[in-house]
């Protein structure tokens, strides 16, 4: 029986984080990029919970995770509104076509 320790959680969390980054970097659709961000937030959440479970921090980790979920919801709402606006202006949600930051 393999004992599931902190390291396993952290591995999962880093894999999840990397997937999130990968999603953000490779996907052209802005919605998919947002999903990548959500993955990264959740990876962070796993870290919080794991440290809360194995460290002696009381309930702080869980509470922080709850905060992150709330912030993620808010962020998703705002980000989707931005995406809608981008679509209105540029008629696309492809991130690589929107390079006006260059100018």
């Amino acid at each position: 029986m393999i004992h599931v320790g902190l390291t396993h959680f952290l591995f999962i969390s880093s894999i999840l984080f990397s997937l999130g980054i990968f999603g953000i970097v490779t996907r052209r659709n802005a919605v998919m990029v947002l999903m990548g961000i959500e993955l990264m937030l959740n990876a962070a959440n796993i870290n919080f919970i794991a440290f809360a479970r194995y460290g002696n921090f009381g309930l702080q980790g869980q509470i922080m995770a709850l905060f992150v979920i709330v912030v993620a919801a808010a962020e998703a709402a705002i980000a989707l509104a931005i995406v809608l606006n981008i679509y209105k202006i540029f008629s696309t949600v492809n991130v690589d076509e929107i390079d006006t930051l260059k100018d």
Binding site: I21, V25, T26, V33, D96, L101
Partner: protein, 709 residues
């Protein structure tokens, strides 16, 4: 009337003409009759001077009223200590008589000018200038210190300049103005140096304080020689202003000014200022200084008198006569006849002003003809002018019953006494010669102008007697040429109120052994300190006043009758000769002139003074000016240009340095930045995902670098 009232009146007398001047100058163009204001101002001034004269002579005949205030006060100076430069008034008999004369003649000239200057383009401004002149002249007369006197002295100079050059469109008039101004400057430089010497020694400008300190033994550089020099330098101012030899050349040229101006400034008042100055500083003049003054006076009396013999311009004759008479006064001062010099100054002011105004009347009647050879027979046309002119000429020639006889006789008596004491018989000789010449040229003038046949029929027919405003001053002035105003005795002025009560000889402050031998006071103690402090010597008890030794008084007394008869004789001779030459024509003047042609030419060409000055002083000045101009153009400008060239060269070098090196560096930096920018812009894709990749890579790198595991 208290003393304070008198001072108040004096202040009013001084400043009223200034008010008139300013008013007419500023409003003359807007108000057509502004000149009437000036004339009423001057009339008020005259009335005030009359009040001043009357009250001073009746209530304070022996008192000097001084009122002063500190103008500049500097304390704790390194060399001089505490200095206070005071301004103030000094009312003594000398100044009140002088101010009365000035105001009276000024008023008469103002009135005379109403008609004489009628129709002139700058009518109002003319009166403004007259006001300025009266103001400045009053300042000279009333002041109690030599600094203020110098300031007003220069103001008089400038008003004289303005009035001589009043018809400045005429080249000769503007030239004459310049000449007068410049020649006066020469004298004034001397005077200024004298004032500086005085100030350097006594640290004050006030006359009384100077005299007191000098009597107490303070001398410039502790030497009598420098005292003489100081006196002579101050006298230089008088040489310029009173047109004494060798600076007399400006006065005849000054006749280019309007004739009333000549009467006021160049006959009666301004030129008398020089004599007045010498009277004021008389106590500091040493025997040597006085002797040189007497010599200059004698030369100034003789030379112009000979020139006046042959001049044909009516004003030129009078001008040379003025120089000659001023020389008389200066000579009288030089030989110690102080009272008579001042007496002659006053009497001469009246009759010479009368002569000038009379000549103005003639010129006016003849429509600006001044050549006496073109006149003649005017007696019938201008009876009043003739009568007044004759009275004034008699006074100038020294005929009894006139004021001129008294004063001139006094001067001759003084020279006579001086000669008998010191043996310098040339002074009385010069005096009597001048007396004869004066009588001769004055009657030549009268005969040619008023007698005989009219030479210019057309102008003669148009001649007319002058209007009332011109005739009135003539009558007043000729009346003042009668003896009665000065003394009850027509042959001896000594007992008269003018000389015995009003004018007193000053007490000398000069050390005993620097004086004329006959001016030494025998009893040293009699020169008390109270007496010295007072230039009119009024505080000493009468009878104890020892100014000149008994010898001089005695000599004057002895000289009285010989001098009187001799002067009468030479004057009569002069008149008789004038009649022989020009009236009866027994001897032809032209023939005589041809016989002694060199002498005649010398006199006619004014002893070639102008030519000599042109050849020497003027040529030297012009030459040195040219040299300085050349020096300026070549050396100074050359140096400036050289500096400019060097600067330009340096500038072009630094310019090159700037554009090549400095700009090159800047451009290089810019280029380098541009190059880096060119590379870096590749990273700037504008795509968020690229940035993110970069961020992640960087994070990884940073984490690797700062790893703790």
């Amino acid at each position: 009337m208290t003393e304070f009232n008198l001072i108040q009146i004096a202040v009013a007398i001084l400043f009223l003409p200034l008010v008139g001047f300013a008013f007419v100058l500023f409003f003359g163009k807007k108000i057509k009759n502004a000149y009437l204001f000036e004339i009423s101002i001057i009339t008020v001034t005259f009335i005030l001077t009359a009040v001043l004269l009357f009250n001073k002579l009746s209530w304070f005949p022996d008192k000097n009223i001084v009122s002063e205030f500190s103008w500049i006060r500097i304390q704790n100076l390194a060399v001089l200590g505490n200095i206070s430069i005071d301004l103030g008034f000094l009312l003594d008999n000398l100044s009140v008589i002088m101010i009365f004369t000035v105001a009276l003649i000024s008023m008469l000239v103002h009135i005379f000018s109403i008609a004489y200057m009628k129709g002139d383009r700058l009518y109002n401004r003319y009166f403004a200038y007259l006001g300025l002149f009266t103001f400045s002249m009053s300042g000279i007369v009333l002041t109690h210190n030599i600094l203020m006197m110098y300031i007003f002295w220069e103001l008089v100079g400038i008003s004289s300049y303005l009035l001589i050059g009043f018809w400045y469109e005429k080249k000769s008039a503007s030239d004459a103005g310049k000449k007068a101004f410049l020649v006066n400057r020469i004298g004034d430089i001397g005077m200024f140096s004298g004032i500086m010497l005085i100030f350097n020694t006594y640290h004050t400008f006030t006359f009384d304080k100077i005299f007191t300190q000098m009597a107490a033994g303070t001398l410039p550089f502790n030497s009598e020689f420098w005292l003489t020099v100081t006196g002579l330098l101050l006298f230089c101012g008088a040489v310029g202003k009173s047109a004494q030899f060798p600076l007399h050349v400006w006065l005849p040229d000054a006749m280019e000014g309007p004739t009333p101006v000549s009467a006021l400034i160049h006959a009666a008042t301004m030129v008398a200022a020089g004599v007045f100055l010498v009277c004021r500083i008389y106590p500091i003049l040493t025997g040597n200084a006085l002797f040189i003054i007497a010599v200059i006076g004698a030369l100034s009396a003789v030379i112009p008198a000979t020139i006046a013999l042959t001049q044909n311009d009516i004003k030129k004759v009078l001008a040379y006569s003025t120089v000659s008479q001023l020389g008389y006064m200066v000579m009288a001062l030089g030989v110690g006849a102080y009272k008579f010099a001042f007496f002659h100054l006053i009497t001469h002011a009246f009759f010479k002003a009368c002569l000038f105004l009379g000549s103005g009347s003639v010129i006016h009647a003849m429509h600006h003809e001044q050549d006496i050879t073109k006149m003649g027979g005017l007696k019938k046309k201008l009876p009043l002018t003739y009568a007044t002119f004759l009275i004034a000429s008699l006074a100038l020639s020294g005929i009894p019953l006139t004021s001129g006889f008294l004063s001139k006789d006094g001067i001759l008596q003084g020279t006579f006494a001086f000669a008998s004491l010191t043996g310098h018989w040339l002074f009385p000789a010069a005096g009597f010669a001048v007396a004869m010449l004066t009588a001769f040229y004055m009657f030549r003038l009268i005969i040619l102008t008023f007698h005989g046949e009219p030479k210019n029929k057309e102008k003669y027919d148009h001649a007319h007697e002058s209007p009332f405003v011109m005739a009135m001053p003539l009558v007043v002035l000729s009346t003042l040429s009668i003896f009665f105003w000065y003394t009850p005795n027509p042959v001896n002025a000594d007992a008269g109120w003018f000389l015995s009560k009003w004018i007193k000889s000053p007490v000398l402050s000069v050390p005993q052994n620097a004086r004329y031998s006959f001016m030494k006071t025998d009893v040293v103690s009699s020169v008390s300190k109270e007496g010295i402090a007072d230039i009119n010597n009024s505080t000493t008890v009468e009878g104890k006043e020892i100014v000149y030794s008994e010898a001089y008084t005695e000599a004057m007394h002895h000289a009285h009758y010989p001098a009187m008869f001799l002067s009468l004789l030479v004057a009569a001779l002069g008149i008789v000769f004038a009649f022989i030459f020009y009236y009866w024509k027994k001897i032809s003047a032209d023939k005589l002139a041809a016989d002694i042609e060199p002498l005649y030419k010398l006199s006619f060409n004014k002893w070639y003074f102008d030519e000599i000055y042109n050849a020497t002083a003027v040529a030297f000045t012009m030459g040195s000016s040219r040299f300085l101009a050349w020096f300026d153009m070549n050396i100074v400008d050359g140096a400036v240009n050289g500096v400019a060239t060097v600067t330009r060269w340096t500038s072009s070098f630094t310019g090159k340095f700037d554009s090549v090196i400095v700009d090159g560096l800047v451009n290089l930096v810019a280029y380098f930045s541009g190059f880096i920018g060119l590379i870096l812009r590749r990273f700037q894709t504008g795509k968020v995902q690229t940035y993110l990749v970069l961020v992640v890579f960087s994070l990884v790198i940073i984490l690797y670098l700062f790893k703790t595991f």
